[in-house]
Symmetry: C2
Amino acid sequence: MNAHISSAYDRDLEGITTLIMQMGGLVEEAILRAANSLANRDVEMAEAVRKADEAIDALEEQINEEAARTIALRAPVSKDLRTILSVLRLSASLERIGDYAKNIAKRTSVLVEMNPVPGADTALRRMAREVEQMLKDTLDAYVRGDAELAEVVRQRDQEVDQMYNALFREFLTFMMEDPRNITACMHLHFMAKNIERMGDLTTNMAEQVIYLVTGEMPEEARPKGDKTAFVVETG
Amino acid sequence: MNAHISSAYDRDLEGITTLIMQMGGLVEEAILRAANSLANRDVEMAEAVRKADEAIDALEEQINEEAARTIALRAPVSKDLRTILSVLRLSASLERIGDYAKNIAKRTSVLVEMNPVPGADTALRRMAREVEQMLKDTLDAYVRGDAELAEVVRQRDQEVDQMYNALFREFLTFMMEDPRNITACMHLHFMAKNIERMGDLTTNMAEQVIYLVTGEMPEEARPKGDKTAFVVETG
């Protein structure tokens, strides 16, 4: 039953890893460019981010096909099978992070028409950069099989969550101070939430990497950071 | 290489299908109960929804393990392999829909402390019921191998999107009319967005069912319904 020929399987896996890294690079770029397009009010760059998402989606499709082909041809078992299935989860997460970047870019095209909310663009860019760094480290951890680095990423997600919580409160204040800020703040708030979700997905990826390297999912529950469900102040 | 013994594989797949249906039933219940807990301001029910999510997550884990075991043991190829991989996507979508229901329930516990926003609870419940029906039909379509029913679900997602767009505008208006509505509306808006995302995920599931039955993903792009990225009115 076990038709797994080590070298052929390893070659396939290397090919898939290369595709994952390529996809990861495009997603990192999408995050940074989406945040920059907002900060610089650059509608053309926002449009480019939206277009670039097609390449990301195509890579996911290709990775899925390669993985299915590898499973069919090499019939991997136990650890090798787990690895392939984990890789599918990594690419699915990357695809979703790419979608969030695209959503941010979409809203940029709208926000440029409104009065800027002081400090918001910069704060969002800072958040986005943090998530991009986390993603970069996660991809490095994956390639190097470095579970410790992945664990560091996992802990860093709290910082992104804290940034998000602070922004949520700030937007509420702005909206209450002046109703003309409401529409812009709603969009900005969505963007912040999108970045926070990117951070969550990156953290899930880091956990997959830990699983890939150690064979076990990290046990200790990571602290959940979005506390806004419990914000009850009414100003 | 092809060690696939038809009857054993079919038995495994049947077992996995049963788990998917079980998981789907729990997720349907979570959607309805989350919406009802908001409409009835029932904090205990909201708490129960949050607790019940653990059973949903456990089922996803079990489905993943069963699928991996089936791939390892039966070494399915072509269509059979595609089926198993599709099933993994179905369970991943169900898990995410369950998470959204949990998020809605979390916010319910907070919203009960605030003044109700007229009509909001009922509108959200209507949206949630629509999504629950879509999910029910999707699961039926999956079990019966009914691509036509899945296509009907796919088209219905537009209605959910329209409900969402209408609510988005309504919440904006309420916030502008009276800043004391802002915090509640932010939470309600998140809930509406969560339900809209559930609709998207259900639609993805319907597309997976079409793929499972026909071997092809539906080609005609479905109309995208969340137009709020383009809302520019400032009141």
